[in-house]
């Protein structure tokens, strides 16, 4: 790769560009498309993964995230557009020459080989001499904190151990990019949390560029340096977890990442970059950017996170009035669901840290809810959009 420092960052441009663009891009897709028959799995994908960063591809099933991963791995061929690894166009380079490490959802450990043979496979394919190979296998297994199992077979290990083997096998070849396909979905909840922390630590320690496919927004938020949110074959937004959560680019991103209440409000006035929205007796200030086509007086959908609403205290303007419909006790907090059919198509989710929330706001109680802080976002109303049930993280 050449280090043309003067070259501008080309991220975000869709047209095909000469290779060796941005000097810190490890993996780049430029206008990449992939169709399966009449179905477009990936539409005009342009994304740049920086060297050493952990980028999540987040979206519901069928959004194209796995297709994108398979294109980078070379398991699929792009119909159009360009794929680069370390500034080199790899569209026509087969998987086995791409120098990638891949960890599969089911780990895909070779059942007929011992653990040491599994981990050493990539080194054998590269003709590494035996003493060197043995040392590097031992190092890789030590890195994932798994020793003493070299002679066992994959089926003799637990799910978590198998995952460590799969990770060691992918990392031992020092890949240019590590690809993880839903790596935690087969693990139970407790193990998942500890493996997430461990993989993140190893990734940071080695500084290996990583692309991580997941449908779990919590996982993406907690592990990623940046997230690409995908839906229906398109990349909808690329940003840090905080940007994705607090400044979603569109309705889909806002409702897919994190819990959110969608409330029917009205645009009141516009002032420069800000807009004022009225909801009940409250006036809420939001960014005007997503509302360029909306005029004062029009209906808008106000997206409010559960931590941005609370039961109104004395003197606070009440935005929504409703009836407590359900409690979900979560230990450190309680999720209260409020029926307010004229404002919210589904139930309004209020998260309370009060230990006595359940007795203070029993089911059937009439409550007033206020909006706190400045985090709310308004999008153009969708006539038939019934803003889905708030999902509990």
């Amino acid at each position: 790769m050449s280090s043309l420092a003067a070259e501008r960052r080309l991220e975000g441009h869709a047209e095909t560009l000469p290779t060796s663009g941005s000097d810190d891009a490890s993996v780049r897709l430029l206008g990449t498309c992939k169709r399966f028959g009449a179905v477009t799995a990936l539409e005009d994908a342009t994304i740049s993964v920086r060297r050493g960063e952990l980028m999540s591809l987040l979206g519901p099933s069928g959004c194209g995230k796995t297709t994108l991963l398979n294109l980078v791995a070379g398991f699929l061929a792009a119909d159009s557009g360009q794929i680069e690894i370390d500034g080199e166009r790899v569209n026509d380079i087969p998987t086995y020459k791409r120098e990638i490490g891949m960890m599969f959802q089911n780990y895909a450990l070779f059942p007929h080989m011992s653990i040491a043979e599994n981990v050493g496979y990539g080194l054998r394919m590269r003709g590494i001499a035996k003493p060197d190979l043995k040392r590097r296998v031992a190092e890789a297994l030590a890195l994932v904190r798994l020793t003493g199992v070299e002679d066992r077979r994959p089926h003799q290990l637990s799910g978590g151990q198998q995952q460590r083997v799969a990770l060691a096998r992918a990392l031992v070849i020092s890949p240019r990019v590590l690809l993880l396909d839903e790596p935690f979905s087969a693990l139970d909840r407790n193990l998942r949390a500890s493996m997430q922390i461990e993989i993140k630590e190893i990734q940071r320690q080695l500084g290996v560029t990583t692309i991580f496919v997941t449908h779990d927004q919590g996982e993406a938020l907690s592990l990623s340096d940046r997230i690409a949110v995908m839906f229906e074959g398109r990349i909808r937004q690329v940003g840090t977890p905080d940007e994705i959560y607090r400044r979603p680019a569109d309705r889909f991103v806002a409702s897919f990442v994190g819990d959110v209440n969608v409330l029917r409000a009205r645009l009141d006035s516009v002032d420069g970059g800000l807009a004022a929205v009225t909801l009940g007796r409250a006036r809420i200030s939001v960014s005007r950017e997503p509302l360029t086509r909306v005029r004062p007086g029009d209906r808008v959908d106000l997206f409010v996170r559960p931590e941005q609403v609370r039961f109104a205290q004395a003197g606070e303007p009440i935005a929504v009035e409703g009836t407590v419909a359900a409690h979900i006790y979560q230990g450190d907090h309680v999720n209260l669901y409020v029926d307010a059919p004229e404002v919210c198509a589904s139930r309004l989710l209020v998260r309370s840290l009060e230990p006595d929330a359940i007795t203070r706001w029993p089911i059937g109680a009439r409550v007033g809810v206020s909006i706190v802080g400045t985090g709310a976002i308004a999008f153009e109303a969708e006539p038939d959009q019934r803003g889905g049930e708030p999902r509990s993280g």
């Binding site: 086995y96 120098e99 895909a108 070849i173």
Partner: protein, 261 residues
């Protein structure tokens, strides 16, 4: 209670022929009778010493070995093609390959006899082997095909991602994982071929007659327990073979009756 009895009755019925023949083999008298009144091992010695049985056994092994090996090569190639690629007339080709399951064995035997007589091969092993290849091919094809279906293709993708070229993926991952299916298919084909009678009756000559044909010729003239003794030895040999295969590969995998992980 009734269910248990029914199951036992069915199980008994299934093994009844083998039990009857085994007991008949030990009859001291030169008749095929059940149950025997006096007991002896002498028919085992007679069977082992009879020249037609000895040559029939050797011929059968030659034919079974060649036919199942050729069928394995051909069947594996076609199984790969059917599993991995889309091509025109795929279903038709599959149907032709499996057709010997529906065409009667005597038809296949007769057909090969007519053909072999035309080109003057009627007295050789080639026609017997060719005939048996056609007969056992469907079984090999099915066995390998099922193994290929059960093979997780992500293992091959994983190998490729680790730097293995397609040839090395085949050699280090695909074929080693198919070994149970290949061995199972070969074994099944060899047992079927060694056992085959109907088509063999048409295509074998005195010099090439296989064991079942030799047994048929024997039983037309004699009806002593040496036939039964031969059967017992046959059952023992097959059982030993399958036990060994089971110990090394797992019978479930060999016969493809249990899903692989």
């Amino acid at each position: 209670m009734v269910g248990t009895l029914a199951v036992l009755a069915i199980l008994g019925f299934v093994i009844l022929p083998a039990v009857v023949v085994t007991l008949a083999a030990f009859n001291d008298k030169a008749i095929l009778a059940f149950p025997p009144e006096t007991w002896s091992w002498r028919w085992f010695a007679t069977a082992l010493a009879y020249d037609d049985f000895r040559s029939g056994c050797v011929n059968g092994l030659i034919v079974a070995g060649w036919a199942s090996s050729i069928a394995l090569l051909v069947g594996t190639a076609f199984a790969f093609a059917l599993d991995r690629y889309a091509f025109p007339l795929k279903r038709t080709i599959e149907a032709v390959l499996l057709s010997s399951l529906v065409v009667p064995h005597f038809t296949i035997g007769l057909g090969f006899l007519i053909l072999a007589a035309q080109i003057g091969w009627a007295r050789g092993f080639a026609v017997v082997v060719a005939c048996h290849v056609v007969l056992v091919l469907p079984f090999v094809l099915r066995s390998v095909y099922v193994s290929l279906r059960n093979l997780d293709q992500r293992l091959e993708l994983a190998a490729a991602s680790l730097g293995a070229s397609p040839a090395r993926v085949l050699g280090t991952v695909t074929l080693p994982l198919l070994v149970p299916g290949l061995v199972g298919g070969w074994l099944l084909a060899a047992i079927l071929s060694f056992n085959e009678f109907t088509a063999s009756l048409f295509v074998t000559a005195q010099r090439t007659q296989t064991l079942p044909v030799a047994m048929y010729n024997y039983v037309r003239e004699y009806a002593d327990p040496s036939m039964a003794a031969l059967s017992v030895m046959y059952i023992l040999a097959t059982a030993t073979l399958l036990t060994v295969a089971n110990a090394y590969l797992g019978l479930g995998k060999v016969l493809n009756v249990e899903p692989r992980r």
